[in-house]
Symmetry: C2
Subunit: 92 residues, 2 copies
Amino acid sequence: MADRNAHALADVFKALADPARVKIMAMLLNAEEVCACDISAAIGKSAATASHHLKILRDAGLTTSERRGTWVYYRAVPQRLEALVGALSLGR
Amino acid sequence: MADRNAHALADVFKALADPARVKIMAMLLNAEEVCACDISAAIGKSAATASHHLKILRDAGLTTSERRGTWVYYRAVPQRLEALVGALSLGR
């Protein structure tokens, strides 16, 4: 596996290597979309902390977000998770 | 998702959150088994560093190892990777 690919995959795993972010991903994967306003309560963290974790997940391509009016809504990108395992298995 | 489960999953992702360990996992997933003696050259690290990474992967349940004579042989546990994604998707 090329260095560049190994680094890219490690970065996505790093985005998931936190209990709060694991909880957020599980929440998003089990709903069509979730309002950012509901996430901080669900993970028991402040809105600022939730927002920090959501940014890391989005930067890693694991979620998408859309602002509608006052709120930002998040969705999981399950293909990104599957691609992670696939890339490891194929050694790419 | 319970705190305990979120921590356990985050720990496995942490084990994968390193380029050298990503390379080792890709190598193991693409072979039946690999001698530890071949891994350090493959990832371009010292034997001691390779051994450190292999321990982290084994402790996370991502590999198994077996000593035969002088050498230790490693195998991937692909079910562990699949279970990771499954646990997130089911929110358990």
